[in-house]
């Protein structure tokens, strides 16, 4: 017999993401999901920029990696609360892992919760975790052709950070190529050029961040 179903397979995942979002809304925290390839500077960005936020802004990080607690250790002096989520072989964080992460945090004591997703330009883009905003990093050494190669990651971004720009001259990086590709894929997201090493652009990133509160998804 043939059963016609017409049901979204992602209902469970999306429902869990919505539960997470409502839970974070109820305590008034803003959740930022950070996505990029491995090694583009997600952890360093948080390490450098979170201590620069105005005094009294309370931050927490859920950091996802396949293995190790190294990133959580790197972040322990930058954010008040840090929880490492090891995904084992999982190539992305899932909404249920975020739920467990939320259980491990004192949510009432957080203004900004950052989710540092597993470094990967494909799988994390396909999963809503319940975040309010999505940040995508693209580092100069990865090449100026990656927006065109991984369009969906960039299409879903609310802001795009071009990192390690201090290497741009050395690597003959073509910013115009990046902007040209972005104009076809996502012309709404602001692009911020920054260098964690020199500090250039960190203020622009913080200003963007501060402008996102209070944030509720449309």
């Amino acid at each position: 017999m043939k059963i016609n179903v017409v049901k979204s397979v992602l209902d469970a995942s999306d429902a869990m993401a919505n539960v997470n979002r409502r839970r974070m809304d109820s305590v008034g925290l803003t959740c930022i999901n950070i996505l990029s390839a491995p090694g583009s500077g997600k952890t360093t960005l948080l390490q450098k920029s979170l201590p620069m936020l105005p005094a009294g802004v309370r931050t927490a990080v859920l950091v996802g990696d396949l293995q190790t607690t190294r990133d959580a250790e790197r972040l322990e002096h930058s954010a008040a609360q840090v929880v490492q989520i090891n995904t084992g072989n999982g190539c992305h964080l899932s909404p249920s892992q975020i739920e467990q992460g939320l259980n491990a945090l004192d949510l009432a004591a957080i203004d900004y919760l950052f989710i540092e997703n597993v470094g990967n330009m494909v799988c994390p883009a396909a999963f809503d975790l319940g975040e309010h905003r999505r940040v995508v990093l693209l580092s100069v050494p990865e090449g100026d052709d990656k927006v065109a190669k991984y369009p969906t990651l960039f299409q879903k971004a609310d802001v795009i950070l071009l990192t390690k720009i201090d290497l741009a001259e050395l690597l003959e990086y073509n910013f115009d190529r990046v902007y040209d590709d972005l104009s076809r894929i996502n012309s709404a997201a602001p692009v911020i050029r920054l260098s964690n090493r020199t500090g250039e652009g960190l203020n622009a990133w913080l200003n963007w961040l501060i402008a996102q509160r209070p944030a509720k998804r449309p």
Binding site: I3, V6, V9, T152
Partner: protein
Amino acid sequence: MHEMSIAEGVLSAVLDAADGCGARRVDRVELIVGQMRLVVPEALVMAWQVISEGTIAAGAELAVTETPMEAQCRRCGRKFAPRIDNYLCPGCGQADVDILAGDDIILKSVICETDGGDAGESKEDLNADQRSLRENTDDAEKE
């Protein structure tokens, strides 16, 4: 390889549907996958074979169809069909869209056998393991 987590969701939806009508075996599952979900159909089929093992859906064929995207421009309201690498609105030339279709994974139908002997379009005389084996062999021969 997020296909494994998607396959888990598919299995759960398939078993719900099959249980709902007292099926004893699932023969075929039709799935519609939106392009934006970045699914590799071959990888999804492989994940499905692994994850359905030991359930009444073991060995069931997973037929994956990709659906094109539909978007609506946030600037001028025009609806159009973007490509995965091009979201430019033909009306106003901006790439600022809401995705209306192509960002979902829909279980369309489940073909299953019940104790009443209704076999749908299936090959009744083979049990699931044999059929799975035969399909795998067929695939290997094709390559």
